[in-house]
């Protein structure tokens, strides 16, 4: 879909955390992210979904090198980030920003909103004249829907939705090329959620921003993403264009996730077929052999325990990691949500 080189290229990224262990015991590892690859282009949104503990937040932090990856390569505009020294990495950070789930916790309670939003400027453009700095802050506040008159207020005086706007303003003020959004709307009410999603989309259009949108809410991800990656226990289960993954999910896990989301439509909800998964997410310390999903998979066979599936191509832009992807739809008959096109 893109002839331009990708903004960010991630190959076989791994983040393993060692667990504290006894003197003679073997060191155990939590494989939080285990071999994830993707390309991200300017102006595009990659949605990352999965249950808690699947490694989606760790992945978001590892691509920014906020957590050092154990192995693998993250290239920014073709250049491996590992080869950048501290000074270069610091300069690159202007282009890569992050916003967090709990907007109030991410803001310093003792700083004014103006100071919070201006902080990245103070770091990267310390010689900016005061008047220019103020103007940039006021302009950014306006762009995210905050009144510049509120510049001297403190974070606690704002509602959750407004705090998230402050977080977005802080991320936007350096005009980045990429923003990682880690569950940015999960703590917000439905009506406020829509405001923030619309704001992110507007900023994306205006600046040709790339977004990595991490969320457990599959409906929000559908709304904002161009492509969607489904993670399970640190591995990519499925990666495809948005409509493809929602209409033609191949991985049993994707199918189960989609069937589990309650849709605000009583007749549909009461007639649809749910694919139920048994049990909880296995511990990433001691993941199952073979396919990591097999312990909860309704169609697992012997092969799944013996051999880990590799990512196979369903189409050019759709990859899936399942031994039985060709027959999964016939076997599970997932009720793919009917598509009502915008009309209602």
């Amino acid at each position: 879909m893109n002839t331009k080189p990708p903004l960010m290229s991630v190959r076989d990224l791994r983040v393993h955390f060692p667990l504290p262990s006894g003197l003679f015991a073997e060191t155990r590892l939590v494989k939080a992210v285990d071999g994830v690859s993707f390309d991200l282009y300017a102006g595009e949104t990659l949605g990352i979904v999965g249950e808690s503990g699947c490694g989606k937040s760790t992945l978001g932090r590892a691509v920014l090198r906020l957590i050092a990856p154990t192995a693998g390569r993250v290239a920014w505009l073709g250049k491996d980030l590992k080869e950048s020294d501290k000074r270069q990495m610091r300069a690159l950070r202007q282009d890569m920003q992050i916003i967090f789930q709990d907007p109030l916790a991410a803001l310093d309670p003792r700083m004014t909103v103006g100071a919070i939003i201006a902080e990245p400027l103070d770091t990267f453009e310390p010689n900016l004249p005061k008047a220019v700095r103020e103007a940039r802050v006021a302009e950014t506040m306006q762009r995210v829907g905050l009144s510049p008159a509120q510049i001297n207020r403190y974070a606690h005086e704002f509602s959750g939705g407004q705090c998230q706007r402050i977080g977005i303003a802080r991320a936007m003020i350096l005009k980045p090329k990429l923003i990682i959004c880690d569950e940015p709307v999960s703590a917000l009410d439905v009506s406020i959620q829509a405001q923030i999603v619309n704001l992110l989309r507007k900023l994306q259009r205006e600046e040709n921003l790339a977004l990595i949108f991490i969320s457990h809410n599959l409906a929000v991800v559908r709304l904002i993403s161009n492509r969607v990656m489904v993670l399970y226990l640190g591995k990519v289960a499925e990666l495809a264009d948005r409509d493809e993954i929602y209409r033609n999910p191949r991985h049993p896990y994707t199918q189960a996730l989609l069937s589990a989301v309650p849709v605000p439509d009583p007749d549909f909800e009461r007639s649809k077929k749910r694919i139920s998964l048994t049990g909880d997410l296995p511990s990433p310390i001691n993941p199952p052999s073979g396919c990591v999903f097999r312990t909860r998979c309704p169609i697992a066979i012997d092969q799944c325990a013996e051999q880990a599936p590799s990512l196979e191509a369903v189409t050019d832009s759709h990859t899936v990691s399942c031994h039985r992807w060709t027959e999964s739809i016939q076997l599970l008959e997932p009720t793919v949500p009917k598509v009502t096109t915008a009309a209602s």
């Binding site: 249950e51 405001q195 457990h216 559908r222 409509d243 309650p262 549909f268 949500p337």
Partner: protein, 339 residues
């Protein structure tokens, strides 16, 4: 044998609705003034039905439940009337309330980790319900606790009885909460955002479990949630709350397919849907919910409403009946609201 005794005691005063709430008002005294959390809420719940209460944070939905259960903090005070099986329970003493709380009326909270006692084993917490309320013998109680864990599909129930809450996953803990709530086969189960902290696959299991338990025992459920999808899946009737008031009430299909109040409509429209291929922007509700310490004189939604007229600002619009079991608190007719 004990279940037989139980069955007999369940259907006393059967003429009255199971729960009848009238003119419920709940106020909190805070340093910033009086917070009007619940402002004149009235409804009834019949035996065996499932009610969904929806609304945004601060709409008072949880405070309605807390007022019914008599679990308000020190600075809170409720007036009005709450009748359980014909008996007034609002403002009753703790001892009096404890005769029905846990046995005939149980509650499940959003966060099972904070609702369970970290110092006690699962078995101890479950048997306590029976030994305290039913004076069941310890050994028999343990057997019943094991049975109920089996009913909520907890694998290896014998092993779990000796475990502590922190040794269980979030989904397992919520199952234990449901087990605890259902132990005495209550007439009414109140669930406050029971699946909000859980992943979707686990949520689906827990909701299925609630429906299953209800089918088996005939318990009425009041489910408070902000997730309209959950309501669509589980509830018979829906109450929509805004700024401490009921603004719409109706059958689940009416609320979803023919919403009358502008707030209900806006709420439904602003929700991103899994089955929607929207590529444009999502409709939003502009602004913020009002401050409960300084409620406007008129309709609390007026400021954010697209259909607000002068008469909306003068006085609070009363809940008016527009059909059998169908109420809305908007002065405008649905025909006047063109979406």
């Amino acid at each position: 044998m004990s279940t037989e005794v139980l069955e007999q005691s369940r259907w006393t005063n059967s003429g009255a609705p199971l729960l009848q709430v009238a003119g419920l008002e709940t106020r909190f005294t805070t340093p910033d003034g009086t917070v009007n959390a619940v402002n004149g809420v009235s409804f009834t719940v019949s035996r065996g039905e499932t009610i969904g209460i929806v609304g945004e944070s601060g709409s008072g939905k949880s405070q309605v439940l807390m007022s019914i259960m008599g679990l308000l903090p020190q600075n809170g005070c409720s007036t009005g009337s709450v009748k359980f099986d014909g008996q007034e329970i609002l403002g009753q003493s703790r001892d009096k309330l404890n005769e029905i709380r846990g046995t005939r009326m149980a509650m499940i909270f959003q966060d099972p980790m904070t609702a369970l006692n970290p110092y006690l084993t699962i078995g101890r917490q479950l048997t306590e319900v029976l030994t305290f309320h039913r004076h069941t013998h310890e050994a028999l109680a343990l057997e019943q606790a094991r049975e109920i864990l089996e009913q909520v599909h907890i694998p290896e129930p014998d092993k779990r009885l000796n475990m502590y809450p922190h040794e269980l996953s979030g989904g397992m803990r919520q199952r234990v909460m449901i087990a605890m709530g259902m132990l005495c086969r209550p007439d009414l189960l109140i669930a406050d955002e029971p699946t909000t902290a859980l992943d979707v696959t686990i949520q689906a299991e827990i909701l299925g479990l609630l429906a299953e338990q209800q089918a088996a025992t005939g318990t009425a459920i009041i489910l408070v949630t902000h997730d309209l999808g959950v309501v669509a899946q589980l509830c018979d009737r829906v109450f929509v709350m805004y700024a401490g008031r009921l603004v719409e009430q109706g059958d689940v299909r009416q609320i979803f397919y023919d919403p009358q109040h502008p707030y209900t409509r806006a709420l439904l429209h602003s929700m991103p849907r899994l089955d929607d291929d929207v590529t444009g922007d999502l409709p939003t509700i502009g602004g913020q919910p009002p401050n409960l310490a300084r409620l406007p004189r008129g309709c609390a939604f007026a400021e954010r409403c697209d259909y607000c007229l002068d008469d909306c600002l003068g006085a609070v619009p009363p809940l008016r009946q527009i059909g059998p079991a169908r109420w809305t608190a908007c002065r405008r007719d649905a025909s006047e609201l063109t979406a």
